[in-house]
Symmetry: C2
Subunit: 384 residues, 2 copies
């Protein structure tokens, strides 16, 4: 075989199109042809504008039947190019993997998106600012209708570049800048009140301690949840006229730290009720309490936050104020899709939607004596 001289080869261009693209999908043109109408007419019928555009009932029926029989599904890529709306949302978070919670956040978002026939892109930044921007751009390149930017724990954050070019919602976070953006966060302040009230209602008044933060403001770096839970706790106790017996601040809320904190507490104050700032700390507390030869709730009552899966794995089951991850996820998508942003002006700052954190009463709180006649809990008007 003789090699063709280079210069005799005109252009080695093979029609790639016919090779790469799966040609077996039914298109609108196919439907139209099969119904004996133009694509225009078919498009009108299938978008429900048949009557408006004066397509005869007969033609309409033919189109509908053709679409049905061929199993036609509109190509959303094409529609997206034309209309600029892709029925697609980006969900960018800092940590998908390391917290089990993330699943529920995403789950709620997924459900809400599905209700509105949207699909979700997922991206994880691991807190890397450059990655944040890249992901957001990659999503906009693909024509997402909007982006939910989520943090795994409630905090303040700097808005990443490009986020607000199109509709966006902050989930579990509020912006450091006074930007007009919708934020969906759990009501951590009310949660603080709920937690401590669970103890107060059960008659605990004397020796109540907390693990995870200490008044007035010793909280883990950057955690808004910590600050607000603490505020709620402090305020509820003040209202009830009860003194906080002890408090152990913790830089990080992990089981071993809860364990050490509780050992310290048992030596120092021997509390009858402990509020742990999350369920992992509570696990550590359980371990330390058991090791001291004491029982929950007989000797020490424990309440906590988050409603981790862990809470029902512990014996006895843990009373805790739940982070409503599913609802948070749902609400973020709802806010994004239902309340389009006003890009130019409008509100001077963020719009914050607080989602209630429900108390899950289980078996870790001991009823001390008949509850006092419950004073209607007045919610103060203090700005938060």
């Amino acid at each position: 075989m003789i090699a063709t001289p280079r210069r005799f080869v005109k252009r080695p261009l093979i029609p790639l199109t016919s090779v790469q693209v799966a040609r077996n999908r039914v298109t609108l043109a196919d439907v139209a042809r099969s119904a004996g109408v133009s694509t225009t007419a078919a498009s009108f019928v299938l978008s429900g504008r048949g009557a408006e555009m004066r397509i005869s009932p007969d033609a309409e029926a033919r189109v509908l039947r053709a679409a049905q029989e061929t199993g036609y599904r509109p190509n959303i890529v094409s529609r997206s190019l034309r209309t600029g709306t892709s029925r697609t949302i980006g969900f960018v978070s800092d940590t998908v993997a390391t917290t089990p919670f993330a699943g529920h956040l995403i789950w709620g978002a997924l459900d809400a998106a599905r209700d509105r026939e949207h699909l979700l892109f997922i991206g994880e930044t691991e807190g890397d600012q450059e990655l944040e921007t890249q992901l957001i751009e990659a999503m906009h390149d693909r024509g997402v209708d909007g982006i939910v930017f989520a943090s795994m724990y409630t905090r303040e954050l700097d808005l990443p570049a490009g986020l607000t070019h199109r509709p966006a919602v902050l989930l579990n976070a509020v912006p450091t800048q006074p930007v007009a953006i919708t934020c969906v966060v759990p009501d951590e302040f009310e949660a603080g009140r709920s937690a401590v009230n669970a103890l107060l209602r059960a008659g605990h008044r004397e020796r109540i301690a907390i693990i995870g933060a200490a008044p007035p403001d010793d909280t883990p770096e950057g955690s808004l949840a910590a600050v607000q839970r603490l505020d709620g706790i402090v305020q509820a106790m003040a209202e009830a006229g009860v003194e906080l017996a002890d408090a152990v601040p913790c830089p990080d809320w992990q089981p071993d730290i809860g364990y050490e904190a509780t050992r310290l507490l048992m030596q120092r104050t021997r509390p009858s009720g402990i509020v742990c700032f999350n369920d992992r700390l509570a696990l550590g507390a359980y371990q330390a309490i058991a090791e001291a030869g004491l029982t929950v709730p007989g000797d020490v009552s424990v309440v906590s936050f988050d409603d981790d899966l862990l809470a029902t794995w512990l014996r006895p089951h843990l009373t805790t104020v739940a982070l409503p991850h599913y609802e948070l996820g749902r609400e973020a998508i709802t806010a994004l899709l239902d309340a389009p942003q006003s890009p130019s002006g409008g509100a001077p700052g963020p719009t914050i939607r607080r989602i209630p954190m429900p108390l899950r009463e289980r078996d870790s709180v001991q009823q001390l004596r008949a509850p006092r006649p419950s004073r209607p809990s007045r919610r103060p008007l203090t700005p938060r």
Copy 2:
């Protein structure tokens, strides 16, 4: 003001286009104009085919500079329409939310996808067959390049309709039908061997019991993991010439069930080593052992499977055979993108990639006596 008579209004059609679509993105045409060339030339340059298509170095430089200066980013929706490839992958699983593992599966997939400049759609089916099909269709409507169909626990499953219309990979699952599809699964059989070998190596020979399944085949419905772990355990013990002292099958692998199973075991056999079929069962075992006034590992050694976060929360930290979720996720994407399927014929059945499950040795196994001279563990050639 007099209302315009209906019939005088020609057609109330407002050019929606200019309203809906954000017109501020830089397009290829903008770049071309700014560089003083045609979009064709600009496209050639930016796709790296400048030399091939004989664009002069000068023109090439102008295009590159214009793209740089305007911050041009190609519209992937448009590219996708033309080329049929969207740099987008669908990840459909049965459970994102209820298992904390899911996060790591997704994490690995996300990382691998990012390495190849792909984005991931996420969908959750909750085991609903109709939803499976709908999700897969919705993803194909958006032009995904392929789909990873994942199960949260290793099992056999019926391939959903439409999955194999385009490239697809099964993650943590194998098909019931003899279909040519790539499957990525953890090596559960080898894991069974690892777990029990951890006990054998430490000198446990007499009273070894297992919780979660019982020979020859009492395993939770539909769990391939259970079957294969059990096989591995049985085989490793047979090889070592050690008799299984006791086995408690469990319909579900939750802490309370592990607790009850262990109580039963302590009465019946009082084992010195327990293999729990997952870490939740092990948590229950810890609780029952502590309640019996015994300690881990002093009185009872425990090994387990999964390497749940829980494993390092327990005291002492749990020795367990890890499910390599991150690697599983990565491998699924890699397999999907790097090894395009041969749609018509080729292999007669699925291609199965087994990912090793590493033993994480921690503090729950007691060394009984000096280890016997370790016979090089011959891996048998038995087909699995």
